[in-house]
Symmetry: C2
DNA sequence: CTGTTAGCGCGTTCAC
DNA sequence: GTGAACGCGCTAACAG
């Protein structure tokens, strides 16, 4: 078996409490004894049992991170950044991947994080019941998605402004028939698609362009969905000359659909995405860049700060900067040929 | 505070041990009592403290997963699949993201998973010392990368055969100047790049093509690295007409470099990748497909089986199938113009 | 079928 | 500065 605190105490000729104090850097241990204990512990390969110490102290030094799909670039990147911040501070990360409705339901029903974590970072937007469940844990909560909500520290972006800059860019290029590929809102309090869509409608209205429902399609935030949605848009009686895809992955799907239809980008159709996906640059995709890793790191930092200073004031909502990145998938509309 | 087992016991009019037995579905509790306890527990929102129960039972119901970069598609996808298998079986996942040398060193020095996990899945290839450290944990070990090694259940692919099929494809198309973009082997026992490179050399030799060191470049397994490597290859006195990139991300970088050099793919240069990245299809990249999620799920299943049947025989090495996917980045070399 | 008794390994009072 | 005693919440072995 692995060494316990008593093994170390015996080998060092002291009591277990002294070992505990010494190893955790608490005051009240002479330097000589402290050194002796440290060397004995190292020699025995001793590590305090997390189960035992959290049982005794009530702290777990563990953060629960809840993610819809770790495999997707966006979430993987946020998680990566957050994990680095947590582990640098000595916290472990318990990961919950809640991609399917069943796993999600099971998670919120059983709340396996109860009594296991000191805080929770949610990369998914909980609905009312799920929010309440998380709040019932009684630990600090943070999120990198969705709008401000009670009990959570939310680090996000201004979805509205981002989407506006994308659509306005298309308008400024001279496009009048501008389509959009949205993410399904689903049954959740997922405000992002709502905000981005509203921005789309607002900019059209502002430019005096009448909204045509045939120019909206749902891309489900996936590549395949984006492809399907673009195909739908192309089937309209008067297809769009430009498309605002509300995520880069859907934009990539749209590009694939366009290629299959032998349409040239940006000559025949312009495409703007949202996110600045790692591969957006490879593809030359014009997009709204948001600091994905930055949001994960910032949310993690804010969570740690709440753990350190439980009584201080903490911001409920932080917005990170965004900007439009012009690349090669947008251009003025082709001069009208014979209609 | 949250309810403890004693609160439930008191409210249900039974002892704590009966509650424990009832809630874990152990035999020896009458149906009537079991139901009563279940409803009381639900009402009180009781969940057993994992710290306490693992302290008492010695089991943690937690799996440690060690990953080099969660943000990269390959690892994110493997992790996603593995996590689903683990959580379906009632296990939690402790994630360790070891991207930088410092975090990696710290992890193996302190081994925070000690006494915290029932098993470890490693998505990185540990060197000798790191392997020994993991073995010292005394728990089942599995990995989805690298070759067979003692103490680990390894789920992998035949890197050699995969790389051979890629290079042979280029040879069969008629290419004679075939370059390769390799992943740096680094200081680790990372056999993948070695195997893939050897396959490259073997196929060239087999085809009677002399090996030209100027046609090899290191792409560091990243997009940017792939771009740099391709740029290097293009600077050779006689650049390649085809390139085997040892990962799709490097292949995408190569494509970007080629576009910047105004070279057409596959007309001027053919490119083959390795992995079948999610976006390979969007880009039309010819590549060697490997079941990425499949490897994660299989490794997870094998680990769980070891946990269930510690004394049974367990396979040390499993190989998953691979196959070449022909898309649009490969074609016969352009007929020689005036040299 | 159920209750009682001991720990699991540590942190945290208190004394000394 | 150090040690002894207690308890964190639960499971396991033993009675009955």
């Amino acid at each position: 078996m692995t060494a316990s605190i008593n093994d170390v105490a015996r080998a060092a000729g002291v009591s277990a409490s002294t070992v505990s104090r010494a190893l955790r850097g608490r005051a009240g241990v002479s330097d000589e004894v402290r050194d002796r204990i440290a060397s004995v512990a190292a020699q025995l390969g001793y590590t305090a049992s997390r189960s035992a110490s959290s049982l005794a102290s009530g702290r777990t030094f563990t953060i629960g991170v809840v993610v819809p799909y770790v495999g997707r670039w966006f979430f993987g990147t946020v998680l990566d950044a957050a994990e680095q911040v947590f582990s640098a501070a000595g916290y472990d990360v318990l990961l919950y991947n809640l991609g399917t409705p069943e796993t999600r339901k099971r998670f919120f029903a059983k709340l396996p994080v109860r009594k296991r974590v000191d805080a929770v970072l949610s990369l998914l937007i909980p609905d009312e019941g799920e929010s309440a469940a998380l709040r019932s844990l009684g630990v600090p909560l943070a999120s990198t998605v969705g709008g401000a909500r009670p009990g959570f520290t939310v680090v996000g972006i201004d979805d509205r402004a981002g989407a506006e800059s994308a659509v306005r860019h298309l308008v400024n290029l001279g496009h009048r028939r501008i389509g959009t590929i949205s993410g399904s809102s689903g049954p959740l309090h997922w405000t992002t698609p709502i905000e981005r869509r509203r921005a789309y409608l607002d900019v059209l209205a502002e430019a005096g362009i009448e909204h045509d429902p045939a120019l909206e399609a749902d891309g489900d935030y996936t590549l395949e969905g984006g492809e399907r949605a673009m195909t739908e848009l192309l089937a309209a009686s008067r297809p769009p000359t430009a498309v605002f895809a509300q995520s880069d992955e859907m934009a990539m799907g749209a590009l694939r659909a366009l290629r299959r239809h032998r349409l040239k980008v940006p000559d025949d159709v312009s495409v703007v995405g949202f996110d600045d996906h790692e591969l957006a640059d490879v593809i030359g995709l014009t997009t709204v860049a948001q600091p994905v890793a930055g949001q994960g790191a910032e949310a993690a930092r804010l969570l740690l700060r709440q753990l350190d200073e439980p009584d201080a004031e903490h911001p409920g909502h932080v917005q990170m900067p965004i900007h439009l990145v012009l690349r090669e998938t947008t251009a003025p509309p082709r001069p009208r040929g014979p209609q």
